[in-house]
Symmetry: C2
């Protein structure tokens, strides 16, 4: 049968409409089909389908994500540590004594051995000198200004481009299914708030992190908050479940991490009973990113990798599971960029 | 002209449809028309209308509400204090020494003078004995069990019925206009979380309050959080802006309080520049609720009432502005009950 043109077009349009209406676009296009992707999709599907025995009501769909090494790069040193070192160098002219005083001398001499020798006390002094003494707004602006110009030593790109495309897709996918996504990180809470909303679609009120003390004062009749050089809370290891309780007040139903600092968060999340999801990002790709685990000084993954096996957490093998690692790789392949998704309303 | 019946019905239906489509149901039916209601409606209208010079994007629409005396009753004593006293009495058989030991003896003897004499140290001991030594989940359950049976001494009703109907309407109204509503209270964070979602539609992650230290432990191979008898944070007075920064990470654009403990939160909110809303609930209705301000031991309102005049905050005169005070009064009048509104998604 030969169709009249008008009939032909009507059918073609109907076919296109049906195909649009029924095609399920892959929510995780940067993932290779494999056990990790399937575990994430199965979890989201099972807990969000009305009538499912695993159904979790929307308000309880709390998903927590570590930041360094889980949402963005953490090698060769934590981004926030790179920021602190750069800030010491920037502030050095105001502190002539630093060139003879540890740990600052080590930073200025780029003497990583002496810096390591300064230990936790040295790190605390660097944090005090670079993270305190201003308002939170001013601090976030300093971080944004630095992020706008600093570049990763190996990839020679701004750090904000070194977020993991597959994880941006997971964030957007889970939010589209009624999850509230939180960062729960050992990193500084205000440091992360400087870019989390723009980069991950995670608003400031959904960022849990380590903090220094913030004090309210009235100066010249105006209210100000001021960052003091005293540790308030360390949101790492055993601190993560405590930080979650303090700021979220609910036990998560899904948690994503990549190091032993995430062990307790993963345990706290998955031991609750009911369908739960624990995910560990295993950095196995020295070519596209880095390969490290048990012996790494940054992002050491040992106990949590062992526990993943016994507690049946999903381990992402970066080399096997991720089709692309960074968003900029997507311009090289034949599919359109994925936005990080609208923030939670 | 005489209409045929079918024509008549078509017109009647159209008229009904138009009337439904154009009628703006009053979002604040429990408020008398007056300056307070008009100020709240004008603010919400002006900051949410696209193209308005006062427009505030939805993610920045953070509204903070004190709890005691702002969302529910706080006289003759804070509800949480009533809970603590009841809990001392309940636990007394396990602590035979309490009948001879202050401040517990004062509680058991109902000797309010001796209790007052025990001061802050006494209050801290009562908090330690009644609020610590269990998991947060267990604590919230203890609170819920108490709320289910305890009754207010004057109104002889459960405390959860003594929330302010006009404020439930404000919460729902603001949420319907893209605001995220937070409690920011000197009260205990976990105490409030026990009922805030059900009663106010405010989820646990949007409750900021005072807290004791919570510690993560592994017991018999299981993860537990445990409440310790040490103060972690006091979310009152100068603590409120600091608590807001820690947990929300944005400066609110609207704040509601009722006492001097809310002064700094109101200043922090309204001094930021741009269109802002500061609201003070003034308890002026001894007949339907209570009348108190400058001299009150509970919910003292002195400096904040003064500042309201100079800083142009909206003062709610409870007697003048609220048509109904409590939700149960609504069954006596001729309009349907208002639900507290869906929680923020």
């Amino acid at each position: 049968m030969r169709l009249r043109p008008s009939r032909f077009w009507a059918l073609a349009l109907a076919a296109a409409w049906i195909s649009t209406a029924t095609a399920q676009p892959d929510p995780l296009p940067s993932w290779n089909d494999g056990p990790a992707k399937r575990a994430i999709v199965a979890f989201v599907t099972d807990v969000t389908r009305e009538g499912s025995p695993d159904f979790i009501p929307s308000p309880e769909r709390i998903a927590t994500f570590d930041n360094d090494g889980t949402l963005w790069i953490e090698q060769p040193i934590y981004v926030q540590f790179a920021f602190a070192l750069a800030r010491v160098r920037e502030l050095a002219p105001l502190h002539p004594d630093w060139k003879d005083r540890q740990p600052f001398k080590a930073v200025l001499d780029r003497d990583m051995e002496a810096l390591a020798a300064a230990g936790e006390q040295g790190a605390a002094e660097i944090v005090a000198a670079t993270h305190a003494g201003m308002t939170p707004e001013a601090f976030r602006q300093i971080v944004r200004d630095w992020l706008a110009t600093a570049r990763h030593p190996r990839f020679d790109r701004p750090y904000e481009e070194l977020v993991y495309q597959p994880m941006l897709e997971v964030l957007a996918y889970m939010r589209a299914h009624g999850f509230k996504t939180f960062i729960v990180s050992g990193g500084g809470i205000e440091f992360m708030r400087a870019f989390a909303e723009k980069r991950y679609g995670i608003p400031p009120e959904q960022v849990v992190g380590s903090s220094i003390v913030t004090k309210f004062e009235t100066r010249d009749g105006r209210s100000v908050l001021f960052r003091l050089p005293h540790v308030n809370f360390v949101d790492d290891g055993v601190g993560k479940p405590a930080g979650i309780e303090q700021q979220i007040g609910r036990r998560p139903v899904a948690a994503f991490g990549n190091s032993d600092g995430d062990l307790q968060m993963l345990q706290w999340t998955t031991e609750a009973g009911g369908r739960r999801l624990g995910v560990v990002v295993h950095h196995t790709d020295a070519e596209r990113e880095y390969a490290y685990d048990r012996q790494s000084k940054v992002g050491r993954l040992d106990k949590a990798l062992e526990t993943a096996a016994t507690d049946r957490w999903t381990v992402i093998d970066m080399k096997r599971d991720w089709k692309t690692v960074f968003p900029f790789e997507r311009s090289l392949v034949a599919h359109p960029p994925i936005k990080p998704g609208m923030p939670d309303p």
